[in-house]
Symmetry: C3
Subunit: 345 residues, 3 copies
């Protein structure tokens, strides 16, 4: 979640991984995430209120909780509070102007947050609007979409690709639980977004995409365009983040923002604010209006035909690696969980 | 169901306990409830019509049924009627201007109907509008709500409770399958509804709630307010019925009405009809607009976390007793049903 | 599907038997039906486009397929195409201005298409509008409806039946997987549709219905009306087709059209086009506004009471035969399928 979306004094309920959570900032402004469920009668705490002292008051019978999740006040009768009366609090780290949550069973490790420092306040990058898109599709199918950008020519014709950008040199690198795939397309007619970010003259270009995926679902897209025969260092392009938070099996929050990069990055006649808004609008069109309906329709077919395996091609090499890593991580977690359960008395 | 809602010449389909039933009045005005399903091809009888002779005619192929549920006419071919051609008729008793139904397997016993005689025509009470509220929540969670009125201070602030009414003396009585819980709150600022029913001057009061639950789901709320230090017999308040009919696991029909009681019961300047309508409106706001969304949200959490048990407090003593009685009654019925099944050849 | 509904250059996605299929005409105008699912990533091919050369291009990554379903172009990288990269193509036969599909496992046999030659271009019949009705009910319950027209007096009062048409002489013939049921109703007041097709004077008539069902779900209704005591050959009536394509367990496409028949077939003062439109409108009212809600409601009861068997009457003789044949055909197919599975290595 974008840190800026979590305003003070607000209770923000958010379904993540099929669990209803509650996000808010405590009296010191520190972001907190709790299960959105009072331990008393299981009413959602998001229907209660945030007290001036930073405590949460349940809206049903008025129990109060501090931001660690512990119940600290029972206003009824003797006022006694059973020990077990506490809400699960999730580790939350605010970094790169995003909130990172640890919903699983692993020891939270802020060192594992992938590098999105271009989004930092003091990064020197001029970051456009921080957008939140609700996708009606599963995060794993969105990863397949992003790690195989060959689809741009067909699904985003003229906007992100065209007939000349189908053929590309593909390079894949894998390091631990990170996969990077680079596409180089040389001497091609530039699609609209490339041209806007470059010379805005429609002249033929060399262009690259280099997209990095870090498990489970954070992607950084490095895009550049330069004149054929010119020095590739004389380029213009952008960095974009594509961070996916699964809400349910069918829906995903897609956090995305972009910043121009490269010595030739163009200026707009209409002023930078308008220009950044226009770029953000085009990106939203591509992701929400073009990618999402296709992925959702694909997903319906996948569900209807559980026995059918995709026929894979060269373009699938990068997404296949990501899915293998995800499968392994999920399997490991399930083993940990079931061994923990069998150890319990 | 309110007896007055079942008008002559109408076929009223109503889902009760996940079963589609049909209510109507026969040629003598006697209320009847049948399975809403023709034994021929299972079409709903509510899509047919009530003949002048009091018989029901199925709207699909025209079989006719008397109010005992027996098929009495087959208009086709030889006109032969197989013995098995009958609809199940439920016992229905009209009492206290309500219709009471026996959906289960027990021998119907009108003596088991709890006392709601204040609703009778000749009770001497001036009963307000008989309201039917469709709640989007399960009847058992509504019972928890009503048997623990400590929630009034938080969920109905200023209307039914306030900060001063949180603390109360609680007395619980149990007799057979009936539980009564009384709350006394002394020397408090009166919430709106109390003040309206009492002196309408906002002066501090003593007040009580005494709510009686009879299994499975009929509640009578006896409410009174009097001046601190005064004789409690010099009070004003009201009697209210809260009768719950489960439709599905997620929906309940809530039949409610109230009548003023006590020597000091106030009169309204606007006339009694308007006053009763205003009180009914405030009660509907509390139940439908405040209780129902909270209970429904609570219920979603309960479903999402089947393993999580509520952490219970002193205020839960009365609802816990009701739920134990319900569990026992349900278990008994299931035993009866399964022993009957195993006895069948 | 009506052949005329499948226009050139269109991709028509259609769910049949819970499977998403894609219908279109290839470059020669020949109708084709494919699984609406690309073998690559399972995206629906209906979101792609039809190329001028008659190939289908997937809208996600641009694979191309010919109308046999074989992948014939991979525009990426080496262009290599795995053998398995093909879509299932269904046999489709265009006959009687309808498209007939073989969704099951049997060898397609165009000889098995029942005779609806009155619908042919050169049949000599003046066929009215070819209507497609989406029914919100299961095809088997619609067959029960059509094979027992005794319901007309109750469900279509005055339009297709009335009190005098309840009693009828019923004759049933069965031949292989075809069942025919004839109802003769003599000396009766004519329902509206009969009168419109005959003398339009409201005088009493003899009338018949003879409806033929061919497994699994194609029905031909032969209707005639003549004056009592007159020669039955001096009649007027119509032929109607009722062809049912199951989409899901709850929805069916109902393809219907009618043509007048008989030496006395009446002419309309308003001209034939208006007259045919009026007849089609009355038929649509009967099927969609009267039959469908009843069948759908019946179906909900059937689902809610899986243990309840219908109580059958004489009028059920014909539909019972059809359902037995369907049960036998389904059982045979399941045996074939499971024996094929067990034979696989
Ligand atoms: S449910 Fe939260 S205090 Fe009761
Ligand atoms: S379904 Fe009721 S008469 Fe046939
Ligand atoms: S899903 Fe059809 S080409 Fe990829």
């Amino acid at each position: 979640m974008w840190a800026e979306s979590l305003k003070p004094d607000l209770l923000v309920p958010l379904m993540i991984l099929e669990q209803p959570l509650l996000f808010y900032r405590d009296q010191y402004g520190v972001a907190a995430a709790l299960d959105d469920m009072c331990p008393h009668r299981l009413a959602p705490l998001s229907l209660g209120r945030l007290l001036p002292n930073g405590n949460l008051q349940c809206g049903y019978h008025g129990l109060e909780f501090d931001s660690s999740g512990q119940c600290v006040r029972n206003p009824h009768g003797s006022g006694r509070i059973p020990r077990a009366c506490a809400v699960h609090r999730y580790t939350l780290v605010e970094r790169h102007r995003l909130l990172w949550i640890w919903p699983g069973d692993e020891t939270p490790d802020p060192g594992a947050i992938p590098d999105f420092s271009f989004l930092d306040e003091d990064s020197g990058y001029d970051v456009g609007p921080r957008d939140t898109i609700r996708m009606d599709s599963n995060y794993r199918n969105i990863i397949d979409n992003l790690m195989d950008l060959s689809h741009a020519s067909f699904l985003h014709p003229d906007l992100l690709g065209n007939e000349e950008t189908i053929q590309a040199r593909i390079d894949i690198k894998q390091e631990g639980n990170s996969v990077q795939v680079r596409r180089d397309m040389n001497d091609v007619r530039p699609p609209l977004l490339r041209d806007l970010l470059f010379k805005q003259d429609g002249a033929r270009v060399n262009m690259w995409n280099s997209i990095r995926w870090d498990a489970p679902s954070a992607l950084l897209n490095d895009v550049g365009t330069y004149a054929p025969e010119a020095d590739p260092a004389q380029f213009a392009g952008q960095l974009g983040c594509h961070i996916l938070t699964p809400q349910t099996a069918d829906t995903t929050l897609y956090f995305t923002a972009a910043a121009k990069q490269g010595p030739l990055a163009s200026r707009s006649a209409d002023g930078e604010v308008d220009f950044k808004a226009r770029i953000a609008e085009l990106r939203r069109t591509a992701f929400k209006d073009q990618d999402d309906p296709m992925i959702r329709a694909q997903q319906i077919n996948i569900r209807l035909h559980p026995g059918v395996r995709p026929v894979l091609f060269e373009i699938d090499a990068a997404p296949v690696r990501c899915q293998r890593i995800l499968n392994a991580l999920i399997e490991e977690e399930q083993k940990r969980v079931s061994s923990r359960i069998s150890e319990e008395p």
